[in-house]
């Protein structure tokens, strides 16, 4: 008998003592009033992102290119192919190896969703965010989030995302609590996370 | 209301004063409490050690002893928890549907002392007086298995002269744990030593709790350490009228006319 058939057989015989009927999942947690909305929600998002010691700068669409340029400074930047704005001096992603990406200082991307309550940014790696390695290997991630992308809660984010795409949920810079359970920012992922929040988009 | 005292085997054999205190207290509050002499033990020692077959006759004795009472009061969070959470498991093990039915009838009527006082009798000031510095340890089963919450401290705060000081890390287990205290004696003593240290830090004269077995464990450590702190069951503090001005005692209806337990004692 194949391992597959044997395991499925074991599962079925284990469940002969299962209580009858379907299990209902109580979803009362969804009735909890979304704690914030509108501007207060965006403010909470900013506060919570900063709580992880990421930096947040607010700007308008018109100010965005300037803000990106200031965030990147003189550093060597890489950008995904579908970015909607210019990053002067940046190289485009053309399938660089991980080792090549390791020689690049900063990556500039867009995002898919922001979650206010948890201060989380979710990337779904569409062309304005690029493949996963792009936002992983360089040590500094400049991430542009539109205020209209911010939702209040985790359930709203899960509902807004497409599971068929690879997703990366980012809450602050890389961190560890493995030494005496004290939080240390910066291990393997980008040690600097800078969020540019576009407020009129 | 026909009320029975479930004294618990530990109080019966080792700490009879806790049981006497419950009788004093309840009579003072007008409850004509009876003591069914057929009672023995809640069977928790067997159940928690894994001896379910051995627990079956003990549970049978329990439901026999307490049949026909409206309420059963016990000065033990742990034993109340055992009855309400474990007797159905034992009944299932017995394969005897009649026992299961009787457990279903009896178990919900069993109240830990503070639940009975606050929820059933609706009292918080039980007329006690105890002018001492006291700290209270919420035992795990009263706290987490029964959820007695702040009932014990509400009762204690109403005691005249009593100074209640907060116990650091109060909600952490003392390390007794039934047979754990001897099967894992080293860990048990390590936990109990920390509890005893926290008790000493309060500067209290008396450590109070609602379970005599936990008190035996922590009290045994406090005694070995010559700490000078004594342990008392919560019932004993609530029964105390130390230093209270003498006055005419109220005579609860029924208590004087019928000696409590009369007629029950002959059953065993």
């Amino acid at each position: 008998m194949s391992a597959r058939d044997e395991i499925l057989g074991r599962v079925r015989s284990a469940l002969t003592t299962r209580p009858e009927g379907e299990v209902d999942v109580p979803r009362a947690y969804r009735d909890a009033v979304a704690p914030v909305s509108g501007d207060a929600m965006v403010d909470l998002f900013v506060e919570r992102v900063e709580d992880y010691r990421a930096t947040v700068r607010r700007c308008t669409v018109a100010e965005l290119e300037q803000a990106v340029a200031e965030a990147v400074g003189q550093a060597q930047a890489v950008v995904p192919p579908g970015l909607d704005w210019q990053v002067p001096g940046a190289v485009a992603d053309d399938g660089q190896s991980a080792a090549e990406l390791d020689g690049i200082d900063v990556v500039v991307t867009a995002a898919a969703v922001g979650i206010a309550v948890t201060g989380t940014i979710v990337l779904d790696h569409r062309p304005d965010q690029g493949r996963r390695a792009l936002t992983l290997v360089p040590d500094h991630h400049v991430c542009v989030v539109r205020a209209s992308q911010v939702v209040a809660t985790v359930p709203e984010a899960v509902a807004a995302l497409d599971p068929a795409r690879p997703l990366t949920w980012i809450s602050g810079p890389s961190a560890t609590s493995d030494i005496e359970l004290s939080r240390v920012e910066g291990v393997h992922g980008p040690r600097r996370l800078e969020v540019l929040l576009v407020t009129d988009a | 209301m026909k009320v029975a005292l479930m004294v618990t085997c530990v109080n019966d054999a080792m700490f009879p004063d806790a049981g006497k205190a419950v009788v004093t207290l309840l009579r003072r509050l007008g409850v004509d409490v009876e003591f069914p002499e057929a009672q023995t033990c809640c069977a928790q020692p067997m159940v928690n050690t894994g001896y379910l077959d051995e627990a079956v006759p003990v549970v049978r004795t329990f439901v026999d002893a307490f049949a026909g009472y409206d309420a059963v009061v016990t000065p033990s969070g742990s034993c109340a928890g055992s009855v309400r959470h474990q007797h159905s498991i034992v009944a299932r093990r017995s394969g005897d549907p009649a026992l299961a039915r009787r457990v279903e009838q009896t178990a919900p009527r069993v109240h830990e002392l503070t639940e009975f006082l606050v929820d059933v009798l609706g009292v918080e000031d039980v007329g006690a007086s105890f002018p001492h510095r006291v700290t209270y340890h919420p035992t795990c089963h009263s706290l987490r298995l029964l959820g007695v919450g702040d009932r014990p401290t509400r009762l204690l705060r109403a005691v005249r002269g009593l100074e209640l000081v907060e116990l650091p890390m109060a909600e952490e287990c003392c390390g007794f744990g039934g047979t754990f205290a001897v099967k894992n004696a080293d860990v048990s003593v390590a936990m109990g030593s920390d509890k005893a240290r926290h008790v000493r830090e309060t500067g209290a004269e008396v450590l109070v709790a609602g379970d005599s077995s936990c008190l035996m464990h922590v009290g045994g450590l406090l005694s070995r350490q010559q700490s000078g702190v004594r342990v008392m069951h919560l019932a004993e503090v609530l029964a105390a009228t130390e230093g209270a001005a003498p006055s005419v005692p109220p005579v609860p209806p029924g208590a004087a006319e019928t000696p409590a337990g009369a007629g029950i004692g002959g059953r065993s």
Binding site: S2, I7, V11, E22, A28, Y29, A98, A133, L136, L167, T168, W169, T176, E180, L181, V187, H188 | A13, M14, K20, G30, T40, C41, A43, T49, G50, E54, A55, P57, V58, P108, H111, D119, G122, D125, L145, C173, G175, G178, A181, K183, N184, A185, V187, V189, L215, H217, G219, G220, S223, R224, R230, E236, A240, T241, P249, P250, P259, G261, G265
Partner: protein, 546 residues
């Protein structure tokens, strides 16, 4: 390479050794109190926390009670998404599958995301037998691996190590495994983390094969989820050409939507954060992004055994958050090694016997007794595993597994107690005997408890387990039931009646204090006459906090 748990002693023996390690005790107390405070703070932010726990438990039950269907759905979706699905009955089979994938790609090393499933099956040791080095990339796992140590916590396997010990391990061991630690390394945690970054980066950049577990496997979308903090997970999941994920069959969730519960409860319960720094999800192969060859190994290794256990199957809800470890007063004092498994603490005390079978060995059989049943674990568990109830049920299974042989001292004692407790009359005789014994002891006893009652000192024989550190009051002359009978329930007690000493807490030393029912309160304020009783409490089973 990491040591193994094979041949560990029974819990009380291992615990005794751990209790004597002062450094360990201090490290554990510091770490668990830190994480407890953080967890409490972020959990209290969430008003609907109890609703989330209820939902989490129900979703897991839903998955487990129709597990065959969900596994088939998961397999179908994964396959449709370009992944290769394997099934492994046990540890050996799972390790062989991973080794075969590595050999197919002719690699002599793999990089690993922290994964409980691969630790459980001792994958690193098996790969080493094939000449393949498995590099742990989680900081704590790296510390354990470099130190030839054993993990002692589910989330923070090196919780038993402090910063000075970690520095020492890095300085002496890193060079042998790759890039050496800087010679001037201090014990400052950011510096230690930076050393790990430098050491591991060359491994990430060259690795061809990555190994992971999964926190969740979503059946209806074929999605695997890895929840992590450092970014080592992202490295392993993204940079290699080949990814192998070893996933316990209990990790399945029916639907994508179900993640909305666990992505709220897991981070808050485990690291005490609103959200962990990184969560990665992937559904098979994404062309042009990440590994282009994706394997998933669905692992049984005792899980179907646990599933068959009607009481114990709830342990398979576990999402490995380790909140139960952090709140456990036993774990806090012994650390994880005493449990002899990669799954320590309260969840380990039930999961190991459930996976391996009660009665399968003394070490496993000692675990269900490694608890005071205090219930702190149940209270903290985000999927409401009633660990105390499962512990008690497993104790019964351990006892049952040993019935029929030569009876142990414990079983003789329990049978004796059952007989005594079988009737009030037998108990009366027994307490009379203990009272007489107490009278004898009291005559020779030298110790007295605060409050005046005499006490037993150190006892010989089996009593030593109690009395080594604790006094025990001598049994009173008169049991409660004897007093009740003699005084007609305290109504006929005369002064000077038999009661030679007060208990430790008797209020008697103060004149005027009633000890028994013969007295009535002089306090009018307590007069309850006219106060109606509130009727029976509507708090039956389950009415409490649990």
């Amino acid at each position: 390479m990491t040591a193994t748990f094979v041949g560990m002693p029974v819990f009380p023996t291992a615990a005794r050794a751990a209790l004597a390690d002062t450094q360990l005790r201090r490290n554990l107390a510091h770490a668990t109190s830190t994480i407890r405070a953080k967890r409490l703070s972020v959990v209290s932010e969430v008003e609907e926390w109890e609703d989330l726990r209820l939902a989490g438990a129900a979703i897991k039950d839903q998955a487990l009670l129709d597990l065959d269907q969900h596994l088939l759905r998961l397999e179908e979706r994964l396959t449709a998404n370009g992944a290769i699905v394997h099934w492994a009955r046990d540890a050996a089979e799972a390790c062989a599958i991973v080794a075969q994938v590595a050999r197919d790609h002719e690699v002599d090393e793999v990089v690993k995301v922290k994964s409980m499933a691969t630790a459980e099956i001792e994958l690193n040791e098996r790969l080493a037998e094939h000449g393949i080095a498995a590099w742990e990339t989680d900081l704590a796992e790296l510390i354990v691996q470099l130190g030839d140590d054993l993990p002692s916590h589910i989330l923070v396997p090196a919780i038993h190590r402090n910063r000075a010990e970690i520095r020492e391990i890095f300085l002496t061991r890193m060079a042998g495994a790759g890039k050496a630690a800087p010679a001037d390394l201090t014990d400052d945690p950011p510096e230690l983390a930076a050393a790990a970054r430098q050491h591991l980066r060359e491994k990430f950049l060259r690795a061809k094969v990555g190994i992971s577990g999964a926190n969740f496997a979503v059946a209806d979308t074929g999605t695997l989820v890895v929840v992590e903090s450092e970014g080592n997970g992202r490295m392993c999941l993204t940079l290699p050409e080949v990814l192998v994920s070893v996933v316990g069959i209990e990790k399945v969730l029916p639907t994508w939507t179900d993640l909305e519960v666990f992505l709220q409860t897991l981070p808050r319960s485990s690291t005490g954060e609103r959200m962990n720094p990184y969560t990665s999800t992937w559904s098979g192969v994404t062309p042009g992004d990440g590994p282009q060859e994706v394997h998933v190994v669905l692992l049984d290794n005792g899980r179907t055994r646990a599933l068959a256990d009607e009481v114990g199957r709830q342990a398979l809800r576990c999402i490995r958050c380790s909140a139960c470890l952090n709140v456990c007063p036993v774990y806090e004092r012994t650390g994880g090694h005493a449990y002899g498994s990669v799954y320590p603490g309260p969840i380990g005390a039930i999961l190991n016997p459930l996976l391996r079978g009660p009665g399968s060995g003394d070490q496993v059989d000692s675990l269900p007794y490694a608890s005071t049943l205090c219930g702190a674990c149940f209270e903290a568990c985000p999927v409401r595993i009633d660990i105390p109830t499962v512990l008690v049920d497993l104790r019964a299974q351990v006892v049952d597994a040993h019935r029929g042989g030569v009876p142990s001292a414990q079983s003789v004692a329990m049978k004796g107690a059952a007989w005594t407790f079988g009737s009030g009359a037998r108990l009366r005789a027994a307490t009379r005997a203990s009272g007489l014994l107490g009278d004898v002891v009291r005559r020779f006893g030298r110790r007295s408890l605060p409050g005046g009652r005499s006490a037993l000192g150190r006892l010989p024989g089996p009593g030593a387990a109690w009395s080594g550190a604790r006094d025990m009051p001598t049994p009173p002359s008169e049991s409660f039931r004897a007093w009740w009978r003699r005084t007609a329930g305290g109504t006929s007690e005369t002064s000077g009646a038999r009661d030679p000493e007060g208990g430790p807490g008797t209020p008697r030393p103060n004149p005027g204090t009633p000890t028994t029912t013969g007295d009535r309160s002089p306090d009018q304020s307590a007069d309850p006459s006219g106060r109606p009783a509130a009727g029976p409490l509507d708090r039956g089973v389950g009415g409490g906090a649990l």
